[in-house]
Amino acid sequence: MIRFLSVFMLLMVAGATNAAAAVDVVATTQDLAALVQEVGGDRVKVEALARGYQDPHFVEPKPSFILRLHGADMLVAVGRELEIGWLPPLVTQSRNPKIQPGAPGYLDASLTVRILDIPTGQITRAMGDVHPQGNPHYWLDPQNGRKIAQAIRQKLSELDPGGASTYAQRYADFDRRLGEAEKRWDAMMGPYKGVKVVTYHRSWPNFAERFGLDVVGYVEPKPGIPPSPAHTLDLMQAMKQQGIKIIIVEPYFDLKTPNAIARDTGAKVLVLSPSVGGSKEASDYIALFDYDITQLVAAIQQTGAR
C-alpha cells in the first residue's frame, strides 16, 4: 500500500512538473542553453542557435532562427558583441516584443561575470577583431558559469514567479555539483600550474586564469586574422626557446598551420572544446570542463610540458 501510494505521489509530482507552463527560452550558444537547462529543468524548454563546434563570431542569421525567436519568452545572449554580426537582425525580424534588448525577456549573460582583456586606450581595427567590451569567451571559468546561472535563475524567477523555488533549488544543486567538480578539476590541474601553452584564438583567457595555464602566444597574429607566415615563424621560434609543447585549437579552425607548427617544434596539437557541444563528450556545462581538463592533463603528461 505504501509503495503504491509513493508511486502515485511520484507520478503526481512528475505530472505537476510536466504540466507546469514551460518558459520557452532561446540561447545564442549551447553553453548558455546548458546553464538554462541546469537551472530551469522541466519548467523550461530551451534551444540554442549556434552549435558548440561552430565559430560563434560567424553564425548565419538564418530565417529558421527567426522562427525560433518568434515564439520565445526569453533570449539569453553571450553579449560583449560576440553576436554583433548576426543576432541584431534576427531579433528585429523576430517580431517578438518580449525579447528585444531592454525588454523583460532579454538577458545579456555578461553583465555580472568577470571579463578579461578589456582594451584600454585607443583601439582600432588595425588590432584585428578586438572586442571593445572585453573578451566574450568568459564562460570558460566555472565561477563565471555560476554567475551566469545566477542571472538565469533571477530572470527565470521574474518571468515565471511560480517556479522561483524550483529555480532556486536547482541552482543550489548546480552550485553544489559545480563546487564538487571544481575540487576535482583543481586536483587534476594542481600539479601543472603555470604550464605554458599556445592557443589558436584568444578563446581561453578565463580558462587559463582559472586553471593556471600560461598562454604565451597565439597562432593568429591578431584576433580574427588568419595565420601569416612571418608570425608563424616567430611563434615557432618562441615556442622552441621556451619549450612550449601544447597548441590548443578550437574545433572550427583549420589544423594545417597548427600541425605545421607542431611538426617543427615537437609540440602537440590539442583540439579542445570551447563550448558545450563542441565535442560529443562535452554534453553539458560540467562535462565541458571534464572533457577539456582530461584532454589537457593527458597531453601535458604525454608531452612533459611545463
Binding site: 552549435r51 563546434y53 561552430q54 565559430d55 560567424f58 553564425v59 548565419e60 542569421p61 538564418k62 530565417p63 529558421s64 527567426i66 522562427l67 518568434h70 554583433i84 554580426g85 548576426w86 543576432l87 541584431p88 537582425p89 531579433v91 528585429t92 525580424q93 523576430s94 517580431r95 517578438n96 516584443p97 528585444q100 534588448p101 531592454g102 525588454a103 555578461s110 553583465l111 555580472t112 561575470v113 568577470r114 571579463i115 578579461l116 582583456d117 578589456i118 582594451p119 584600454t120 586606450g121 581595427r125 577583431d129 567590451q133 572585453g134 571559468d141 565561477q143 554567475k147 583567457p205 580574427g224 586574422i225 588568419p226 574545433p251 572550427y252 579552425f253 583549420d254
Partner: protein, 446 residues
C-alpha cells in the same frame, strides 16, 4: 595625476593606521563586561572570530581594490595597460557592509581579490551612448575594355554609403543609408521599423528598397559581383532599382513545415521602374518567401514577387513585374569560415500595358559562388534579358568573378564580363572593385 596618486597612498596609509590602532584598542582576549557564563563566552568568541574573518576579507578586498587603482594610475602614466589585462578601471567593490570598528590583525594579502567581487559592467562613454552606429562603405570601381552600349568610367568612386543605425525607442529602430555618388547625394534608404507589433507583423515606413526578388533589396556593397545582373539593369532599374518612399508590412505565416513570410508594400510611385503622374498612381509590391533548412549546413530559399504601377510610356500606361527566385546555400558549420557555396537564380517577367499593346520582356540570371579558402571566393554568372517594350531585342552575357577578402572589412574583386548586345556588338570588359568599410555597419539580413 601625481596628486591623485599621493592621495591614494595617503588613503592607504590611513586605512592601515586605523586598522592597527583599533586592533590595539581592543585586544582579543579581553572579556566583554556582561558575558559571564562559559557558554556565553564561547558564543561571544565565535562571534568575534566570525567578525574578524569577515573583516579580514573586507580588508583584503579593499586593499586589492586600491592596489588595482594604483596600478591603473601607474599604467595610465606610463601609457601601458595594466599587467593582467583586466579592467583596472573597474575596481572591485567591497561587498561587506561598512563597519565602524575595524579590528583586523590579519596581514593584508597583496593578491587579486577573490573572484565574485569584480565589478564588470563596462561604463559606456558618456554623451556618446545614444549616438547611432555609423559606418561608411566605399565602392571604388574600375573598368578596362570597351562597352559602347553601357559605358562606364575607367576609374570611379562609384559610391560612398554612409549608414546611421540605432534603436529609436522600446518599439522601433531606425536605419538611414545615404549614398554619395558621382551624381550627388541620395537617400538610398531611410526607414523606421516597428518590431514590437502584435500578430507577427513587422512595419517599415520611409524610403525603402522594395522587397522584389533578391538582388533588388541588396545594397551595392553586399552583392557578390562588381555589377548588378543584366536583367536588373534592363528590367528592374539598375543600381538604384525599385526603391521608393512608402510603407512595408510583412507577416510571418506560422506553419510546421517552413519559414514563410508574406510582404505587402505600397510606394509613392516614382522610381527607376515606375512613374506615376498623379498622387493616386501608386506602386504596389507583394512578396512571398519560403525558407527551409535541409540539413544544418544546407538550406533552400524560395520566393515569388509581384510589382505593379503606372508608367509614362503612354497615357494611362501601366507595368507589371513578376519574379521568382531560388537560392541554395551550403555552409558546413565546422568549417563555416573556410567554405561555403551559394547558387542562385532569379527569373523576371516585365509586362508593359498601354493602349497599343502589352509586350512582355523576360530576363534572368543564374549565379554560383564558392568560397574555397578563408579569404577567397570564386564565382560565375549567366545573364539574359530582353528589352522592355521591345522584347524581340535580347542581350546575353556571362561573368567570372574572383574575390579576395583581406578581412571582413575590405574586399578586392576582379570580374571578367562578356555581354553580347542585341545591336550585334560584344563587350569584353574587366571590372575591378575595392570595397572598404569603416565604423560599425549593422549586420545584413540573410
Amino acid at each position: 595625476m601625481p596628486r591623485s596618486r599621493t592621495f591614494l597612498f595617503a588613503c592607504l596609509a590611513v586605512t592601515f593606521l586605523s586598522a592597527s590602532a583599533s586592533a590595539a584598542r581592543q585586544t582579543p582576549g579581553t572579556p566583554p563586561p556582561d558575558s559571564q557564563s562559559p557558554e556565553a563566552l564561547r558564543a561571544e568568541i565565535a562571534r568575534l572570530q566570525q567578525q574578524l574573518e569577515s573583516l579580514a576579507r573586507t580588508y583584503d578586498e579593499r586593499l586589492a581594490a586600491l592596489e588595482g587603482r594604483i596600478a591603473a594610475l601607474g599604467a595610465a602614466q606610463t601609457g601601458s595597460p595594466p599587467p593582467d589585462g583586466t579592467a583596472a578601471a573597474n575596481p572591485p567593490q567591497a561587498q561587506a557592509p561598512e563597519t565602524s570598528t575595524p579590528q583586523s590583525q590579519a596581514p593584508p594579502a597583496l593578491q587579486p581579490p577573490p573572484d565574485g567581487t569584480v565589478a564588470t559592467g563596462t561604463p559606456p562613454p558618456s554623451g556618446k551612448v545614444f549616438n547611432p552606429d555609423i559606418a561608411v562603405i566605399g565602392n571604388m570601381l574600375g573598368a578596362v575594355g570597351t562597352n559602347e552600349i553601357e559605358p562606364s568610367p575607367g576609374l570611379d568612386l562609384d559610391e560612398a554609403e554612409a549608414s546611421f543605425q540605432a534603436i529609436i525607442d522600446p518599439y522601433a529602430r531606425g536605419d538611414f543609408f545615404f549614398s554619395f555618388g558621382p551624381e550627388g547625394v541620395d537617400v538610398e534608404e531611410g526607414f523606421i521599423t516597428f518590431n514590437t507589433l502584435p500578430a507577427g507583423l513587422l512595419l517599415k515606413a520611409g524610403k525603402l528598397r522594395a522587397a522584389f526578388g533578391k538582388v533588388n533589396a541588396m545594397h551595392t556593397h553586399a552583392l557578390p559581383w562588381a555589377d548588378r545582373p543584366l536583367v536588373t539593369r534592363t528590367l528592374v532599374g539598375g543600381d538604384e532599382g525599385l526603391s521608393d518612399a512608402g510603407l512595408s508590412v510583412s507577416k510571418l505565416i506560422l506553419n510546421p513545415v517552413m519559414f514563410l513570410e508574406a510582404t505587402g508594400e505600397v510606394f509613392r510611385g516614382h522610381s527607376d521602374v515606375f512613374n506615376g503622374t498623379t498622387r493616386s498612381d501608386l506602386t504596389y509590391v507583394g512578396r512571398l518567401r519560403g525558407y527551409r533548412d535541409l540539413t544544418e549546413g544546407t538550406n533552400l530559399d524560395l520566393g515569388a514577387s509581384i510589382a505593379w504601377g503606372s508608367t509614362e510610356v503612354a497615357p494611362d500606361s501601366t507595368k507589371r513585374l513578376i519574379g521568382v527566385d531560388a537560392t541554395f546555400r551550403y555552409r558546413p558549420l565546422r568549417r563555416a569560415i573556410y567554405q561555403r557555396m551559394i547558387a542562385r537564380s532569379e527569373l523576371i517577367w516585365s509586362q508593359d500595358r498601354f493602349a497599343g499593346g502589352s509586350p512582355t520582356a523576360f530576363g534572368m540570371y543564374a549565379s554560383g559562388e564558392y568560397q574555397f579558402a578563408r579569404r577567397w571566393f570564386a564565382g560565375g554568372r549567366f545573364d539574359y534579358s530582353e528589352r522592355p517594350l521591345f522584347p524581340s531585342l535580347s542581350d546575353k552575357g556571362g561573368a567570372a568573378i574572383l574575390t579576395y577578402w583581406p578581412s571582413e572589412f575590405s574586399q578586392i574583386r576582379g570580374q571578367y564580363r562578356r555581354t553580347r548586345y542585341a545591336e550585334g556588338t560584344t563587350a569584353n570588359e574587366l571590372l575591378f572593385q575595392f570595397l572598404f568599410s569603416i565604423g560599425a555597419h549593422g549586420a545584413h539580413v540573410f
